[in-house]
């Protein structure tokens, strides 16, 4: 995703994605696999549904007293010797990290996978400040090599085929590697080991942060999160303020459903719990720990239309099942967070106008709501966003005019009854073999790829008399 891709209209970005055979192949394989794994994981876990309700209730209760829990989290982290920074915008969060790099002479920063850092375009900012960011999650590492952005919340390189990954890692390794995941992972590991040892700073996100204990929780599969948070002398964790949860008991509820929703695993391979910097007598851990609590549009939605989007665990399950995402992948959305939840998060961070096209990038099929571990009603919020677009007159005037006329038609049975004979007359030149295959102007958007049944010779209401 480059700046230019966001200026291209969304339908064009989507059309380009539909024509990319590599993307189509990679997406079909990966999303189908994720869907199957998730289904199996929950099928084997009868408690799952009740835990999802419980997780939702915890998120809701936490939002009700978010200020209290954030205060408690900050106190807990500080009591352990960590530093807490409050950032009301993405810019502020970035400045905190850049300031730490400057003051402490950081040259290399290793990163654990974090969408929050993507949200503030941290890598670009670090590079401009002379700090080399190194992504250490394999998927993130791949797209960093490709100079791209993640196209999925948990599987950033989901759009890449094995052959494409092999080419990228071969370049770094300096010799040709087989398109075999094990070989490629081993080669990446060799490269990354060095970076872990050289890095002055480790930057992570946080899947959860426990208010009561000050624990920062990272859920990963590669163990890189553990290295990022323990090897470099400084650990910086950046989290959205909605990631706080009250207690360790609550954490158990989320851990029971998160990996199942995301990858279909019972648990992820690593669950890393970070409590403060290295304590006296401890052998490992960073000398300094900084936790950045970032708002960036979130708190405004606590009482807003997008409130439920603040429950999001960033598992990516809604992307995998979304018929639109499955066809176009993440980059076509043009923002940090793709997929159905991404549309809501983009609106949250960049305003409603930023999603004037994307708000319609959904058939409202509801598959996202069904798989969401905390049952976020994404379709409802998409409809609400469309309502805002109309109310704020961001929706095109032509669209508003069409719907005004449509409403009038529906309010007048006389006009509605007249619509059928009128349409029959107008469609006459276009009906061939009992179907309409080519219509002009706006209607061609349907007939370019699909036939349309002609308006019936007699509508139901016209036939009703003889049915009586």
């Amino acid at each position: 995703m480059s700046a230019s891709s966001v200026t291209t209209p969304f339908p064009e970005r989507a059309a380009a994605a539909l024509k990319d055979p590599f993307l189509q192949e990679a997406l079909a394989i990966a999303t189908t696999k994720f869907i199957g794994l998730r289904r199996e994981a929950f099928a084997e876990f009868p408690a799952g549904d009740a835990l999802r309700d419980q997780a939702r209730a915890i998120k809701e209760a936490t939002l009700q007293k978010l200020d209290v829990y954030l205060g408690q989290l900050a106190d807990s982290v500080e009591r352990l010797g960590g530093h807490v920074h409050w950032a009301s915008t993405g810019d502020e969060a970035r400045d905190v990290i850049l300031g730490l790099c400057r003051d402490r002479g950081v040259r290399i920063a290793v990163k654990s996978k974090s969408m929050a850092t993507e949200e503030i375009e941290l890598n670009e900012a670090l590079a401009r400040a002379g700090v080399t960011p190194v992504e250490t999650d394999l998927g993130e590492y791949i797209i960093q090599l490709a100079h791209e952005k993640p196209s999925h919340i948990i599987a950033p390189a989901i759009h890449k085929t094995k052959a494409q990954v092999a080419a990228l890692i071969s370049d770094v390794a300096g010799h040709r590697l087989a398109a075999d995941p094990e070989v490629l992972t081993a080669a990446a590991r060799v490269q990354l080991r060095q970076k872990f040892l050289q890095a002055d700073m480790g930057i992570s996100g946080a899947n959860f942060a426990v208010a009561e204990t000050g624990t920062i929780v990272l859920v990963t599969n590669e163990g890189n999160g553990r290295m990022v948070t323990s090897l470099p002398r400084i650990h910086v964790a950046l989290m959205g303020i909605e990631k706080v949860i009250p207690s360790m008991t609550d954490l158990m509820v989320f851990l029971a459903i998160l990996a199942k929703s995301a990858t279909g695993q019972k648990l992820s391979s690593y669950t890393t719990l970070v409590r403060g910097p290295r304590q006296p007598g401890e052998l490992e851990g960073p000398e300094e720990l900084h936790l950045i609590l970032m708002d960036n549009g979130r708190s405004a939605q606590i009482a807003g239309t997008l409130r439920e989007a603040l429950y999001c665990l960033r598992c990516g399950a809604c992307l995998n099942v979304c018929p639109v995402y499955r066809q176009i992948g993440g980059h076509a959305y043009g923002h940090t967070y793709p997929g159905p939840i991404g549309i809501l998060l983009t609106a949250m961070q960049k305003g409603t106008e930023s999603v004037k096209e994307l708000a319609h990038a959904s058939s409202l099929c509801g598959a996202c709501r069904d798989v969401c571990p905390v049952r976020i009603d994404i379709p409802r919020m998409l409809i609400e966003l469309r309502e805002h677009l109309r109310r704020d007159r961001i929706a095109p005037a032509s669209e508003r005019a069409v719907f005004r006329v449509f409403r009038r038609l529906l309010m007048s049975p006389t006009a509605f009854a007249f619509a059928a004979p009128a349409a029959r007359m107008l469609q006459r030149p276009f009906v061939k073999n009992g179907r309409v295959s080519r219509l002009p102007s706006f209607f061609s958007k349907w007939t370019e790829t699909r036939d349309l049944p002609p308006v019936a010779a007699r509508t139901f209401r016209e036939r009703w008399k003889e049915l009586q």
Partner: protein, 236 residues
């Protein structure tokens, strides 16, 4: 209740529903003046406009004992969205809630209210069933249409792989993003053709317009039919 697409494009579905219900001893009325449930307005964010349509519909059907709709999405609209749209007026909200409680998608009405298990239909052939999103996930119904199809003597039901996945219609979505809508449809139709069925059955005019239009464009031998037509019999 016969809503816009059914009235204009698929009147035979309404006729089949009336035939079927009468055969089962139900007295059928068709309140004059009905138009559309208002879902196209609602889904595009025109809520104030949708509310005026909802109010009109609630009034029109105020005297019906049961309201049966051969379309999952229209039934969903009435059942789950009308009360919210009319929430600003206590009396209207109450009327909307009452209507919501009396409104049924056709297959649900047949199975849950009339207790139908088997029907004598002259329809014969191998059919496959597509779960329309609003019926499946909106109203939580997947079993009634299948049970009714299985209960037909001349019909073999084969499961459609990915039956619960969207057909790509999505109302205005189909023309706002036609390329994406069609890509989703193509996947659906590939699955349909793989089943070997000669008839694709669904319970929603929107899906039938989308899938029927796609099948027709690819000159498929598979026909798209509404459940009512299959249950009422007649030739496919």
């Amino acid at each position: 209740m016969i809503t816009c697409l059914g009235d204009l494009f698929f009147p035979e579905v309404g006729v089949a529903m009336v035939t079927l219900l009468r055969r089962l001893g139900v007295t059928v009325e068709f309140p004059q003046g009905q138009t559309c449930c208002g879902m196209p307005l609602f889904n595009s964010g025109y809520h104030a406009e949708a509310a005026t349509v909802a109010r009109r519909t609630v009034d029109l059907f105020s005297r019906s004992e049961h309201v049966v709709v051969p379309s999952g999405s229209c039934a969903w609209m009435v059942k789950t969205e009308y009360p919210g749209l009319l929430a600003h007026d206590a009396r209207q909200k109450e009327a909307a809630e009452a209507l919501a409680g009396r409104t049924w998608e056709l297959s649900q009405f047949l199975v849950e209210i009339l207790g139908v298990r088997t029907l004598a239909s002259s329809f014969t052939g191998t059919v496959t069933y597509h779960d329309s999103c609003h019926l499946l996930r909106g109203l939580g119904e997947s079993e009634s249409p299948r049970a009714l199809l299985r209960g037909l003597p001349g019909v073999a039901l084969v499961e459609l792989p990915g039956a619960d996945e969207c057909c790509g219609f999505g109302g205005s979505f189909a023309v706002r993003l036609p390329a994406v809508s069609t890509a989703i449809l193509d996947k659906k139709l590939d699955n349909v053709e793989k089943t070997g069925a000669d008839c694709l059955v669904a319970c929603d005019a929107g899906c039938l317009m989308q899938m029927g239009g796609g099948l027709s464009r690819r000159h498929s031998r598979v026909r798209a039919r509404h459940l009512a037509e299959v249950l009422a019999g007649g030739d496919a």
